[in-house]
């Protein structure tokens, strides 16, 4: 056994998890410690003596380490980096505790979807210091990301954006800003961000949501602005919201995308149980029109839309996530960064991705994908060293009008499935010839992967009308054993699969299930 196998031994999963948790909490502990003053009789005279002139009332509660930290972020970093936001928040008297406690204490655990959160945590934990200095800059970067709505919005809008961080947040961009703010010399300024002027228009603003489904353009009057899906409750499981808002979301999606004839999504999977995780493969993001040439593009390496992939990530199923988020088991056993939106579509996240994110590294590679579900005949579980060669994993499929799936007839759905299978088989053939050219077709890993694709094509062409096309495609292409996936995926598989951002719908199954904050625009 290699050292790596030893380290990644599944038998010690729980031990490892605990050790990691302990390590994390060692850094976080200070932000949980509070001293309870309320019960004690404090001498008001002391407060008066120690009070600073013009001190805000909340300043006096400075014995608390977390509050101190939040104010150091607020008065230190934020004031220096973006005085506009700083002044505006001060003017509205929104103290950093109001949003910051949750952000910092949970390391942004409730502000991002799990998929995105893992990226954030990777960046945080990769830092050399053990007290997570990146947290400060992430906080500022997150504020910068929503600068526009903060500055233009009234008190309520501000709070809404702060307390329910926009679901559309481009987590990669935020991390890039944070890294840049932390060490400007090492990390170049992300494109679209300039410290002096504005900037990056958040996706909450007009762009169709890249990672998390469509968003609506905010109304010019800040008061009336409450787009469905733009916000989510931080305190409730998303599934509940998803159920509640699904109908509404589907409608809004139809409106948003009614003009679109069809969109292409590229499905990708990266499953590498035994591949050296430290050599996580760089993964190219393909424009939808170029997937036929995927191999060529991949080898060129000059595409600035490259996104790094972290392969063989933490085992998801039943191990990670909040109680209701366990369906993440359905979204894949591998993790990769969200696709970097291309500037061609006026993408809002034009950050520089050519630079490798060296901070992202693999936690554990033992998560054998549940791939054998459909291809168990060909691929015996446990001994298939699935390659992470990107080209063979690149599955492209076109999903046309998937959000209309509900309103479509059985025949229509069937033909959608059939169309998918045709598209897929075209790509399959292309892929195969290219692999042949590379003389790697005989490799068992590649063979098994190809067999898997074949299985998918076959299953798709057998498309059953009673099964919602969306859940079928997702479920089978990802080849995962899923529980209650259909409802989740239905909300997710809108034509939000933007042509230029293939794969978005697949990779962020949770992301679209954000709750529109209904109460905020409740008019009852």
């Amino acid at each position: 056994r290699s050292v790596l196998q030893e380290v990644m031994d599944e038998a010690y999963l729980e031990y490892d998890a605990f050790a990691l948790f302990e390590g994390v909490m060692r850094g976080l502990e200070q932000w949980y410690i509070t001293t309870d003053h309320c019960g004690q009789q404090t001498n008001p005279r002391n407060n008066i003596i120690n009070a600073q002139p013009f001190a805000r009332p909340q300043d006096s509660v400075s014995s608390n380490l977390l509050v101190q930290k939040l104010y150091s972020i607020h008065d230190g970093h934020l004031q220096r980096i973006d005085p506009q936001i700083y002044n505006h928040l001060n003017k509205l008297e929104i103290a950093p505790q109001i949003y910051g406690i949750r952000w910092v204490r949970l390391l942004f655990g409730r502000e991002f979807a799990l998929q995105d959160l893992l990226m954030v945590w990777d960046a945080i934990f990769a830092d050399t210091h053990n007290n997570f200095p990146l947290v400060d800059f992430l906080t500022v970067a997150m504020l910068l990301f929503i600068k526009e709505p903060i500055l233009t919005g009234d008190y309520t809008t501000c709070l809404k954006f702060l307390m329910r961080y926009p679901a559309s947040a481009d987590v990669q961009y935020i991390i890039q800003i944070a890294l840049h703010l932390r060490s400007p010399k090492t990390y170049p300024k992300p494109r679209g961000y300039s410290s002096a002027v504005s900037h990056h228009v958040p996706t909450v603003g007009g762009q169709p949501n890249i990672h998390r489904g469509p968003q609506k353009v905010p109304a010019t009057s800040s008061i009336g602005y409450a787009p469905p899906g733009s916000t989510r409750s931080a305190s409730l499981p998303r599934t509940q919201y998803q159920q509640k808002t699904f109908q509404q979301r589907a409608q809004s999606t139809d409106q948003t995308y009614s003009g679109r004839n069809g969109s292409t999504a590229s499905l990708r999977r990266l499953s590498s149980p035994n591949v050296d995780p430290l050599n996580a493969t760089a993964y190219k993001h393909e424009g939808n029109n170029h997937y036929n040439n995927s191999s060529n593009n991949n080898s060129s390496g000059d595409d600035n839309r490259t996104s790094k992939v972290v392969s063989g990530f933490v085992r998801f199923k039943d191990k990670l996530g909040r109680p209701k988020d366990l369906n993440i088991a359905t979204r894949g056993t591998s993790l990769q960064s969200p696709p970097t939106p291309s500037s061609a579509t006026g993408g809002t996240a034009n950050f520089h991705t050519g630079r490798p994110m060296s901070e992202l590294y693999v936690v554990r590679s033992q998560s054998v994908p549940l791939r054998t579900r459909h291809s168990s005949g060909e691929v015996p579980m446990g001994q298939n060293p699935l390659s992470s060669d990107e080209s063979e994993e690149e599955l492209s499929t076109s999903m046309t009008h998937t959000s209309d799936a509900q309103h479509m007839s059985k025949e229509d759905l069937c033909s959608v499935l059939l169309g998918c299978s045709i598209k897929l088989s075209q790509n399959y053939v292309n892929l195969k010839t290219q692999l042949e050219d590379l003389n790697v077709l005989t490799e068992p890993s590649i063979q098994s992967s190809l067999n898997g694709i074949k299985e998918v094509i076959q299953t798709l062409s057998l498309g059953q009308p009673q099964i919602p096309s969306s859940s079928m495609m997702n479920g089978q292409q990802q080849q995962l054993s899923c529980n209650n996936r259909s409802s989740r995926y239905e909300g997710n598989l809108q034509p939000g699969a933007h042509p230029a951002h293939p794969g978005t719908t697949i990779k962020h199954p949770l992301s679209d299930n954000q709750s529109p904050d209904e109460t905020l625009d409740a008019t009852r």
Partner: protein
Amino acid sequence: MAVDVTATYKVLVIGDVNVGKTCLVHRFCDERYYDTYISTVGIDFKQKIVNLDGVPIKLQIWDTAGEERFRTLTTAYYRGAQGIVLVYDVTNLDSFNHLSYWLRNIEENASPEVVKVLAGNKCEVNTHQRAVDKERGQKVILESFDIPFFEVSCRGDVNVQDTFLTLARLIRDLRQRRASLFEERERAAGVKLEEQQKAAASGSTCGSC
């Protein structure tokens, strides 16, 4: 959103951990009950526009964390609160006994005029699961504190709307009373001024005579 909101009231929901503060807020705002428990960290924020006797009023509800370790932080949130919903759990005696702690906390941190309502949550439970009887709750409330009291159930949607509407009504009444008091004073001051002017005028006429 075309409703013209005449006023916004800031309402704080406080109480021990796991008494159902978040549930109460969600039941009120979303008219939904969630059976899952996810602890609130720091503070959460929700908003609902209620129709108070034909007048739309925006309730800005701040849902606080009940954990002891968060209590210090909560004090910063009291600022500007016009109403407070104090919640305890009828199946949890401790949460009831801690009411005095919370009331002291309110006294220390909130404005003296803040309007309070007490809610005993989870009242749908059987009698043998109860730790605090309704009578007992009422008695203590009447004896110790003069604040409206409701036994509520988020699961069964009992009294939840009433609790918040009562609070909103009390806030409105207080504001109106204050406003009328202010007007009265104004008027009184105005009258005085007039009298003075008259006096001055008559004095001057006298003086001119």
